[in-house]
């Protein structure tokens, strides 16, 4: 006697049908997850069953499911964790910079310019031109109270604009601080999730084999975490995961061992710190770094530059004004034109607003003298040492243009970065994504295999019946 025999063959067919059924099931599982973005497709690994020894040599005994495997490219997964972190960093930067640009309110509206300056958009640039022009206008009519009122109106408007811009930018910094606070909670929640998932993989795989579904979730959690802070991970020989943020261990061998906390510096600015040591984390990418970089970089620079502009304007105008004489030929050397010291608190002296005749436009007691106001008007053109030897409007133009360059640079970087990320995602999709066509084709193969094996049972059954009939 050699071979499997009728019963053995029927057993083989039964096994084959099971294999085909499982194959169809997995194809179905894949199809069910076709729209799941974190899902990595699975497939059954079919192996031929153990050969049995016969006198003619080893004979195959059918097939069996060797294992269920998940198609995953760990190199691409790791690369995506890094790249998504950078993308989110740039996205956060871009979003906050756009908000700051809107706060600055320096836009160009060509349609309304031609209808007269006052109808167009009003930014600090327009404010400066209007102020110096009204100084100039007053210098041509130094005794005119109407011109004096115009000067006060334009000065007030510019001061208000500077106050508003500074307040908006400071509000923006505050709102970034609040976001930073939320991010800390999110990072800690995500760290806990990563630790839980990593531990679950360990537990599952000891008992049931590959924890494919949980691996999908872990990869997604790692990507989400890296979108906030850049992370590095290691896996030891037992497959246990350790996770670090800026070198500080947050997850050690599948257990959450660290966390982050909020650190507020003396200026009230929030940073993210390691909870145990209290050290402020030096991040490379992620939304947290994006928030900090914009807050302490371009927005801070913008505020500083506006403050420099305002304080120089206040100092230069006041120095001239305090030496001048008003329409009643009086000099009050304590009477300043502007009050305040920076963009946040610059204002116009209320004494002059209530009585524009007190504006000290003359260098002598003669009412028609315009030396002081003319010097003020010409200050719009001269370079100021406190403004890196630029004129007021040049300095402001420079500030706006530099800020615009920051945004334009971030835009370009983001486009490049998105291209890299898209390419990697495409590669990953090409490896692990579900193809409906492919799964349906597999389904047909399994269907046919199942049908063939069923047929084998029928044939074997006939043979068995024929055999039993021999005895009749």
């Amino acid at each position: 006697m050699s071979g499997l025999g009728i019963m053995g063959t029927m057993e083989m067919a039964r096994n084959a049908m099971q294999t085909a059924r499982q194959g169809a099931e997995i194809a179905g599982h894949n199809l069910a997850n076709a729209a799941n973005p974190i899902y990595a497709r699975q497939r059954i690994k079919i192996a031929s069953a153990v050969a049995i020894q016969t006198e003619q040599g080893p004979q195959g005994s059918g097939s069996e499911v060797a294992r269920l495997e998940q198609i995953r490219d760990y190199a691409i997964d790791a690369a995506l964790v890094t790249e998504k972190s950078v993308t989110r960093y740039l996205e956060t930067k871009q979003r906050q910079l756009r908000r700051a640009e809107a706060s600055l309110g320096q836009t160009l509206d060509r349609q309304s310019i031609d209808a007269g300056e006052s109808y167009g958009s009003y930014g600090v640039a327009e404010g400066l031109s209007s102020l110096f022009n009204s100084f100039q206008s007053l210098s041509a009519n130094p005794t005119s109270t109407a011109e004096r009122q115009t000067v006060m109106f334009n000065a007030q408007k510019l001061a208000d604009k500077m106050n508003i811009v500074d307040r908006r930018l400071s509000d923006l910094q505050k709102s970034i601080n609040v976001e930073e606070d939320y991010e800390v909670d999110d990072v800690n929640a995500k760290l806990a999730q990563v630790a839980t998932l990593a531990a679950a993989i360990g537990n599952t795989e000891i008992v049931e084999g590959a924890a494919n579904g949980i691996r999908d979730s872990l990869q997604a959690a790692l990507e989400e975490l890296s979108e906030m802070v850049n992370i590095s991970t290691t896996t030891n020989e037992d497959g246990k995961l350790s996770l670090f943020v800026d070198g500080y261990a947050m997850v050690t061998e599948n257990a959450m061992t660290g966390s982050v906390k909020l650190y507020t510096d003396s200026n009230g600015m929030n940073f993210i710190a390691d909870n145990r040591s209290g050290d402020v984390l030096t991040l490379q990418s992620g939304s947290v770094k994006g928030l900090i970089d914009v807050r302490d970089g371009p927005i801070k620079d913008l505020r500083d530059q506006l403050n420099t502009l305002a304080s120089n304007l206040i100092a230069e105008v006041n120095a001239l004004h305090q030496a001048g004489f008003d329409l009643s030929a009086n000099n009050d050397s304590s009477l300043t034109f502007f009050t305040g010291t920076n963009a946040g608190d610059i204002g116009v002296n209320s004494t002059i607003i209530s009585d524009p005749r007190k504006l000290q436009a003359a260098s002598t007691g003669e009412t028609g003298n315009n030396s002081v106001i003319r010097a003020m008007a010409n200050m719009g053109d001269i370079s100021i040492s406190g403004l890196s030897n630029m004129s007021f409007s040049e300095y402001y133009g420079n500030t706006v243009s530099r800020f615009g360059q920051d945004i334009a640079l971030t835009d370009t970087q983001l486009i490049d970065q998105q291209a890299v990320q898209t390419m990697l995602e495409k590669q990953r999709d090409s490896v692990q994504g579900v193809s409906i066509d492919e799964e349906v084709a597999n389904l047909i193969i399994y269907q046919r295999a199942f049908q063939a094996s069923a047929r084998l049972i029928t044939v074997m059954d006939t043979l068995m019946a024929d055999l039993l009939n021999l005895q009749r």
Partner: protein, 318 residues
Amino acid sequence: MRVSSNSFSTDLKLQMNKLAERQLRLQQQIATGQRITTASDDPKAMRRVLDLRNERSQLTQYQDNISTLRENANVVYSTVNAMKRLSDRASEIATMADGTKSPSALSAYAMEVDQLLEETLRLSNTQHRDVYIFSGTKSKDATYSATRDADEQITAVSFDGNSNSAKIDIAPSTSMNGNFSAEGTHGVLKNSANGVDFIQHLIDLRDNLTTAADTSLAKDAALAALATIKDTVLGNLDKDEVNFIDHFSSIGATLSRLETSEAITRSQVASIEPLISNEADADLADSLVRLNEIQNAYTAALQSGALLMRTSLLDYIR
């Protein structure tokens, strides 16, 4: 390369998003006619536009200053013109007043000259926009205050203005004097350097005519007064006349300089506009053509996407 089912939809979404973004941008450019709206659109161009707009608004202000100066110069011109007419009449009277005229005629002349004097005082205290035009920089003070005798006749005037002038900018680093003065080196009515003193000469004329017409005085005194008019007053009035004429030509020169400056400034303002346009305006033809191209791509993406996503192997198995 293996293609998963999601690749189609993901790719289509990305592509359509990109195309929609470009369409929006072009639509904005076409609707506003502007290539840039904020600094981030083109930081360097924004900087240049801000500078150019500042320059333009400064030039517009210089135009306003020029208008103010022209207005003032015109007012001064017409006032000086009126004074010259008074001076013409005074010279006429000085020429006509001789021994052949009767005392009553001379007295009438004296009265007329007194009126000329009053009119001169009124003109020299002319105000324009609340400013005394001949007071130099003491522009809120009346130019002259008169001392009058018992008969309310002007016996002397005192100058309350000064001969200073405010400089008014008409172009970058270019300024002009904005004020005129009745007295001083460029005095309209009095200039001691060349013996010009219109009001005093009118007083002299009137007083000499009054003396000549006074029948209660000796005949010699009347003749002496007439001789003074012939020998001194007439000559002095000529000097005043020449001074007025000098002022005409200098004001005329000022006006023509202002006109030239205004023309230059106007052409500068005009030349800045195309520069701003160059930096900030969208090329409509170019934008429209590009929008058309992108719309074609967008339609093609939608059509091919719909076709691809609709069909799968499932359609062919039963």
